[in-house]
Structures are given as structure tokens and as C-alpha cells.
């Protein structure tokens, strides 16, 4: 308990102190505070993974009622992920923010919001009381917003930030409705009451309540079609914040969905099918749009949507497992989801950090202007390569492990499934495979256009790699990525407790992964290590053989064309063209081009702006309509005195008269009905 108090008090002290410190001091204090809090929370979290559950209770106030704090394995798992990403992120940010050291107040605001973000995120994981949860949730959203708009003198950044703020507010509205609903029926904001309420009600109630919460959390998690804030917010934020957003903030949406699955008693099968559908949609849509992006961070943002889709597939499979009472399937599904949550947090934050280094080196994120960076920053390029391979789900890295588990779940489920489920399965498999292929397509493009070939634009400032200390957290992350790839079974064993929370709903005594369902991972671990060894062997062989012969350096083979320039390289758009032509009617790319014409053609250009079809249909158009409708009423206060008085008269007269006519109208209608 005292630790909890410390956990809450420390940030407050830090926030009070930060504004009065030197620029460097702010960052140091923040990081140390986060470190301490991470240790405190991690100390609990680690123990929960070995099956302990901590229960505390604050008195709360008249409004909230008693606030229960419960740290169970699920919360523990997410807390660990949080702390990992936050520690690396803050350390990276320490160096990233050096570029802005003259903006003193701005920095203190930034670091304050940063530490608030950490605290609120962890509290969200453990709070068991509706109102307190909402408060923590919105503190999280607000501090994230403040962190995002660090470069707030840019209008675009602010727009993206506000877009994010509004959408997260919509999400909180849905959550609010859900909690109000339960509170009215049971009179308590405690999470237990959700369970007790849904248990007593029919399954319809449970499903609707779940949808209410699901939409709320899905907006935060970025499920299609609630994803539209994500591709705007991520590029706008400073890089370590983008990394954290994509790494953990959208994951807190996943956490919410999982938590609600634990709490709400409903027809899990239909929920599972629903989530599965949403997830396949999100995965495909996200990656399909990722390919055509020009802005590196936007591209990564769309990949977050894709990965949320993959996680969601895991959850969906798990739910269906719960629904069918098949604890094996449930275990595999939720394990895949939880593990992929960790994996995505790792490689996606790594990718963002690298993109940040690239940005600070070149001052641009438009990949069409980049190229050849691998010669300037080989280390960074390697890190990006590792993360790219991992996110494509290719062995020997961690991405493959979680995707393998999800595949495994799908095939396991297939062995004893009905016709409808089988169709669902086959299309999920189809989706997952396509996602993998498209991701490969996308990241070969991203990596090679950014780092390989020759620079497409000559920068007038010299480009140098980030200092080692800034790259240190990146190495740590990539170490984890490799470690999970090589020893998946050990990581899986950490998941036993969180997963058994879910399987416990079917069969309390069941211990996941002890039945050899996922022993394949052991072999995969060995295989991956063997794979690396094999590569090493072949490479050594090559070394031995080739060193006898001298390698000559010459220009790239241009089919006889002897004056190649960087301009004739393949660009990102041309790489993606064959693809974007295929899906042109889905992708909605706005082109503006001036083609070459005439005998002596003048300069020609060709620009494309990728645009999100769903965003256009679901956000932009309705809002435009809404605003136009509202602006119809602007005449109301036109400054004429007579009108102001007229309103009074109209109000009084109508209130007097409408009831008088009301009965007659009713009579008339009845009369018409009789005709």
C-alpha cells in the first residue's frame, strides 16, 4: 500500500519540481522518476506473472465510492510491456529532445505530460472503479495529446493533435455510457458489478454492453473504421512519443477489450466472430494503405493498424474458444494476442526510433527524398532491417513466433469446426497470409528506398549517425526481438498466468501449454538458432572461397546505358505501382501530373497524395454536412433588438398555443387513420 502511495506521490512531486529545473535536469528527473515508478510497478507485475494477485482499496470519495486496485496477471503483463517501452523511449527521448533545448517551458510541459502519461497508463491497468478509470483514461488521453503537440507552432501538428483529442473524447463517451448503464442497474461503479449485472441478464444485454465498451476501446486501439486519428497523430508527434503511442497507448485499447472480456459475461462465440471480422478487416486495410504512403511515420502508423488487426485475430480466436468451451483454442488465441502485443510494442517502437534518427539526420520523412543512408548510418540501418524482418513475421525474429501461434490457433480450430467456422477460418488464414505478404512488400520498399541505392535528393547539410548512447535503447530492444525469436517457449511460459485468467472461465484447473499444444515453439527456437548458424557457416565458406579472388568495383549494370544518375533509380511509388494499379479503386490516390508533351517538352512533374477512403466517407463528409447544417442557424443572433424580443414572444406563444392545437392534431390524425 505504501508503495502505491509512493507511486502516486512521486509523479506529483516531479511535476511540481520540473518547471524550475534546467533543461537537462527536467529530462533527467523525469527519467529517474519513471525508472522508480517502473521498478515499483514492475515489482508487483513480476510477481503476478507467477500467479499472485494483489488487492488494495482506497476509500475514494462520495462520487466514486470505494476504489479497488487489483493487479492481476493481465495487468502485470501490460505493465511490464509499458515499462519496457517507456524506459527505452524516455532514454531515447533524452537525446532526441536535445535538438529543442532552447524551448524551455515547452520542454517542461512535454516532460510533465510524459510522466503523467506513464502514471495514468499504469493506473488504467489496475483501477477497478468506473469513474476513477474514466479519470485516469482521460488524463492519459490529455497528456498524450500534450505530448503529441510538442511542435505546436506547426498548424498541421495541432490539427492532428486536436483530431486525436476529439476522437479519444468520443471513445470516453462510449465508455461513459457503458459505466452509466451498469451503475444505474447495480448502483455501483465497481468492475465486479459489471460481472454480476451481465450474469443476471440475458446474453443480449451482455453483447450490447460489450459493444458499447468495444467501440470505446477500439477507437483508442485503432481498429478499422475507428482508426482515422492514428495516421495523423503518429507523424505529428515527436518520435519517442510516436514510438510510445504505437507501442503502448493503442495497446491500452487492447487491454481494455481483454479486461471487458474477463468482466462481461456474454455469448463469446458471436463476439469472437465479430472481433475476428473486424480484425481481418483492420489488418488488410491497414497494410494496404501502408504501402502507398510517402511519409515514413505515416507508413509505420498504418502498420500499427495492421498489427492491431493481427492481435485482434488472436483475441477473436480466443473468444471463440471460450464460447465453444475449448480451452485449448482459447489458450492459443489469447497467448498469440498477448505475445503479439509485446512483439509489436518492441519492433514498432524500434522502427519509430530509427525513423526519428533518420528524421534528425535528414530533416525529412518523405521517403521519396531519401536513399543510400546505409552508407552514412550502417548501424541504424541494421536496426531498421531487424525490426522490418520482425514485423513481417519472418523467422528468426519475434514477429514470427506470435504469428505462428495465431496460425496454429486457426489450424487447431479447423480440426474440429463446423462449416460456418471453417469458412471464417479459411478467410482469416487468407487474410493473415495476405497481410504477411503485403507487409513484406511494404517493408522491402521502405527499407530499400530509405537506406539502399543512392540519395535521391542531395542535402546541403552533412548526414551523420546518432550518437551511440541514443542508439543504446535500440540495441536493447533488438536484443529482446532476437531473444524472443530464439527462446519462444520461455516467453510462452511467462504467459501461463495471464492466459489462465481466460481459460479459467471454462475450466479453472486447466494450465495452458502443458499439453504439448505449442511444443512446436521449442523446435522453432532451435531451428531459428540453427538457421543463424547455417547462415554464418555459408558466409564463412564464402569468405574463405572468395578471398582468393579479387572483387572489382564498377558501376551498376545499366543494360548498356553508361551514364546512370540517381534519378533513374526505382522510387517508392514506382516500386508500389504494379500493386497500386491492381487496387486502384480501393486505394483512392489523388494524382496531379503534368506529362511531357510537344517536340521540346518543358519540365514535367507527377505527384500523388494517398487519401484514406474510410476517413473520407466516415469522418470528413459527415462533419462537413454537420457543420453546414449548423451554420444554417447563424441568423439567430443577427444583432437586431427586435429579434431578441421576438424569440421571447415566440417561445411564450408557442408554449401556450401548441398544447391547444395538439389535441386537435391528434384528433385529425385519428380521423385520417379511420379513413
Amino acid at each position: 500500500m505504501s508503495l502505491l502511495i509512493a507511486f502516486l506521490v512521486l509523479p506529483i512531486i516531479t511535476i511540481i519540481v520540473i518547471p524550475f529545473l534546467k533543461v537537462r535536469g527536467k529530462a533527467i528527473v523525469t527519467i529517474s522518476a519513471i525508472l522508480i515508478n517502473a521498478l515499483i510497478s514492475g515489482h508487483f507485475a513480476i510477481q503476478t506473472l507467477s500467479g499472485q494477485i494483489f488487492d488494495f482499496s482506497f476509500a475514494g470519495s462520495v462520487v466514486t465510492g470505494p476504489i479497488r486496485i487489483q493487479i492481476d496477471a493481465l495487468a502485470g503483463w501490460f505493465i511490464l510491456i509499458l515499462n519496457l517501452v517507456f524506459l527505452t523511449g524516455s532514454f531515447y527521448g533524452l537525446f532526441y529532445m536535445k535538438a529543442y533545448k532552447e524551448q524551455r517551458n515547452n520542454l517542461s510541459l512535454h516532460w510533465i505530460s510524459f510522466i503523467l502519461l506513464h502514471t495514468s497508463l499504469i493506473s488504467i491497468c489496475v483501477i477497478q472503479n468506473g469513474i476513477a478509470f474514466l479519470i485516469a483514461w482521460e488524463i492519459m488521453a490529455l497528456s498524450a495529446f500534450l505530448a503529441v503537440i510538442f511542435e505546436h507552432e506547426k498548424m498541421a501538428t495541432l490539427k492532428a493533435g486536436i483530431n486525436y483529442l476529439i476522437q479519444s473524447h468520443v471513445s470516453i463517451l462510449f465508455l461513459m455510457v457503458g459505466f452509466i448503464w451498469v451503475a444505474i442497474k447495480t448502483g455501483s461503479y465497481d468492475f465486479q458489478s459489471i460481472t454480476s449485472y451481465t450474469q443476471t441478464q440475458g446474453s443480449a444485454t451482455g453483447i450490447f454492453l460489450f459493444f458499447c465498451f468495444f467501440i470505446g476501446f477500439a477507437i483508442k486501439a485503432g481498429f478499422v473504421p475507428f482508426h482515422t486519428w492514428l495516421p495523423h497523430a503518429h507523424p505529428a508527434a515527436p518520435t519517442h512519443i510516436s514510438g510510445i503511442m504505437s507501442g503502448v497507448i493503442i495497446k491500452i485499447g487492447i487491454f481494455g477489450i481483454l479486461r471487458m472480456l474477463l468482466l462481461i459475461k456474454a455469448d463469446y462465440t458471436s463476439i469472437g466472430f465479430f472481433i475476428l471480422f473486424m480484425s481481418v478487416l483492420s489488418g488488410l486495410y491497414g497494410v494496404m494503405l501502408a504501402i502507398i504512403q510517402h511519409n515514413l511515420k505515416r507508413l509505420l502508423a498504418y502498420h500499427s493498424i495492421e498489427n492491431i488487426g493481427i492481435i485482434g485475430m488472436g483475441i477473436g480466436i480466443g473468444c471463440i474458444g471460450l464460447g465453444n468451451g475449448n480451452q485449448l483454442l482459447a489458450a492459443i488465441g489469447f497467448a498469440g494476442a498477448l505475445l503479439h502485443t509485446l512483439n509489436h510494442a518492441l519492433f514498432k517502437s524500434l522502427l519509430f526510433y530509427v525513423s526519428g534518427i533518420v528524421y534528425q539526420a535528414t530533416h525529412t520523412l518523405n521517403i521519396e527524398h531519401l536513399g543510400g543512408l546505409i552508407k552514412k548510418m550502417p548501424q541504424t540501418a541494421m536496426l531498421f532491417l531487424i525490426a522490418a524482418i520482425a514485423i513481417c513475421g519472418i523467422p528468426p525474429f519475434n514477429g514470427f513466433v506470435s504469428e505462428f501461434i495465431i496460425y496454429n490457433g486457426l489450424y487447431q480450430w479447423m480440426l474440429n469446426a463446423g462449416l460456418v467456422s471453417l469458412v471464417a477460418i479459411i478467410f482469416s488464414i487468407l487474410g493473415l497470409v495476405l497481410i504477411g505478404g503485403l507487409a513484406l512488400f511494404c517493408f522491402t520498399k521502405a527499407f530499400s528506398v530509405v537506406f539502399l541505392g543512392q540519395p535521391r535528393v542531395q542535402f546541403n547539410h552533412e548526414i551523420k549517425d546518432a550518437p551511440f548512447l541514443q542508439r543504446l535503447p535500440l540495441y536493447i530492444i533488438s536484443f529482446f526481438i532476437l531473444a524472443i525469436g530464439l527462446f519462444p517457449k520461455n516467453v510462452l511460459n511467462m504467459l501461463i498466468q495471464p492466459v489462465s485468467l481466460f481459460t479459467g472461465k471454462i475450466e479453472p484447473t486447466f494450465v495452458p501449454f502443458q499439453d504439448g499444444s505449442l511444443d512446436a515453439l521449442q523446435t522453432i527456437g532451435w531451428a531459428s538458432s540453427g538457421f543463424i548458424v547455417l547462415i554464418a557457416i555459408i558466409f564463412l565458406l564464402r569468405r574463405v572461397v572468395t578471398q582468393k579472388h579479387k572483387a572489382t568495383i564498377s558501376s551498376t549494370w545499366g543494360c548498356g546505358y553508361v551514364a546512370p544518375t540517381p534519378k533513374i533509380q526505382y522510387t517508392a511509388s514506382s516500386y508500389a505501382r504494379s500493386y497500386s494499379k491492381l487496387f486502384s479503386n480501393i486505394l483512392l490516390i489523388e494524382k496531379e501530373e503534368k506529362t511531357v508533351s510537344g517536340i521540346f517538352p518543358t519540365e514535367a512533374h507527377f505527384k500523388t497524395h494517398p487519401y484514406d477512403w474510410l476517413e473520407k466517407m466516415l469522418i470528413d463528409k459527415p462533419i462537413k454536412l454537420y457543420k453546414s447544417i449548423l451554420s444554417r442557424f447563424l441568423f439567430l443572433n443577427n444583432g437586431k433588438l427586435q429579434f431578441s424580443i421576438l424569440y421571447g414572444i415566440i417561445f411564450i406563444v408557442s408554449v401556450i398555443c401548441i398544447p391547444l392545437f395538439y389535441d386537435e392534431i391528434i384528433l385529425f390524425i385519428d380521423f385520417l387513420k379511420q379513413l
Binding site: L634, L636, N637, N638, G639, L641, Q642, I645, I649, I656
Partner: protein, 210 residues
């Protein structure tokens, strides 16, 4: 007797609605003041004398003499043009006024109340709405003020209805009267006269929201 006076009162309303010179408005207001004086004299028979005298003085002094004189003074001082310049032609105003009266009569028809003399109700309400209609339909600021005075008279009539039981109400009405006339007429209309050259409502439309 009272009813006769009240009917005359309503007729003055009709006359107001078709009058097109400012001075006519002033005179009609004075006339209304006198009528109200008689109404008060006849109606408030049961209240104690001191109170009655105060009320009578108020009506005769303010409604019949002071306010009309002051209005006339304002007309001269701010050299306001003599025409009323309504937004709507006079006969439309007449029709509307009539409609208002008819409507109030119909409305009063739905009252089942022994305590109240319906005449007062009809006259009061129709005066009230006519006054509001004047405010809404005239262009000059001073006509707004006159419309407001008309409303005041209507309220006074209504307060007559309960005057016997609650003379305090009547006094309050008087207070409202003084307040309105002193504040609105006195201070600000003069200010407006000073600041804006031609006292026209359309000049007072700069505070708006689009």
C-alpha cells in the same frame, strides 16, 4: 363604467397601430395614462386611502404628464423625424393588433375563474402583445421605448385585477414603471441621441455573431 374605459383603452391601441406621426404616439400615451388613472380610481376602492392616493398620483404624474412631456422633449432634443417609419404598412399593423385582441379574447374564454374580471385579462394581455408587436415592427429606437410604455400600461391594468388583495403588487408595478422610464428613457436614450446622429435601430446592429 370600468369596462367602458377599458374598451376605450383598447381603441387607443388600434389608433396607435395606425398612427404615423411621433407626436400622436406621445398624445395617445398621455391619454392612456389618464384612462388608467380613472381605472385605478374606480377599481381600487377597497385599499386604504394613503396607498390609493400614492398610486393615483403615480399614474397621473408619470403616465399622463411626466413621461409624455419627456418624450416630447426627447423628440425635439434629438430632432427625430416626425414619421413613425414602421417596417410594415399601417393596415397590416391594424389587422395584427385586431388579431391579437381576438386571440386574447379567445384565450380568456378558456379561463374558468370567478376571482378575475376577464375584461382586465383581455385588455392587459392584448396591450402587452400589442406593445411587443410595436417594438418588433417599428424602426425608431424611441418607438421601442413607446412600445415599452404600452407594455407597462398593460401590466398596470393587469395589476389592477389583483390590486385590491395585493396593493403591493401595484406599487411594484409603479416601481417598474419609474425604473424603466428613468433608466431607459432618461439616461441611455439621450446618450444614444448624442452618440449616434440619426436614432435608427439599424445602427445598433454591430454586435452580432457572424
Amino acid at each position: 363604467m370600468i369596462h367602458v374605459i377599458l374598451i376605450v383603452f383598447i381603441i387607443t391601441l388600434f389608433y396607435l397601430s395606425i398612427a404615423n406621426r411621433m407626436l400622436t404616439y406621445v398624445k395617445v400615451l398621455a391619454l392612456q395614462g389618464v384612462l388608467l388613472f380613472f381605472v385605478a380610481f374606480l377599481q381600487l376602492s377597497e385599499i386604504n386611502t394613503l396607498n390609493l392616493i400614492f398610486i393615483l398620483l403615480e399614474t397621473i404624474v408619470f403616465k399622463a404628464i411626466a413621461v409624455p412631456l419627456f418624450l416630447g422633449y426627447l423628440l425635439k432634443r434629438n430632432n427625430i423625424t416626425r414619421e413613425a417609419e414602421p417596417f410594415l404598412p399601417n393596415f397590416v399593423s391594424l389587422i395584427i393588433t385586431t388579431a391579437i385582441v381576438v386571440a386574447t379574447i379567445l384565450l380568456s374564454n378558456s379561463i374558468l375563474d370567478s376571482h378575475l374580471d376577464k375584461m382586465f385579462f383581455v385588455v392587459a394581455l392584448s396591450t402587452l402583445f400589442t406593445g411587443l408587436y410595436f417594438i418588433a415592427s417599428r424602426r425608431k429606437i424611441i418607438t421601442h421605448v413607446m412600445g415599452y410604455m404600452v407594455i407597462e400600461n398593460g401590466v398596470f391594468v393587469l395589476s389592477m385585477a389583483v390590486g385590491n388583495e395585493m396593493p403591493m403588487m401595484v406599487n411594484l408595478g409603479v416601481m417598474l414603471d419609474i425604473f424603466a422610464s428613468v433608466l431607459i428613457l432618461g439616461i441611455f436614450l439621450n446618450k444614444i441621441g448624442d452618440v449616434f446622429k440619426d436614432v435608427d435601430v439599424d445602427q445598433l446592429t454591430n454586435l452580432k455573431d457572424y
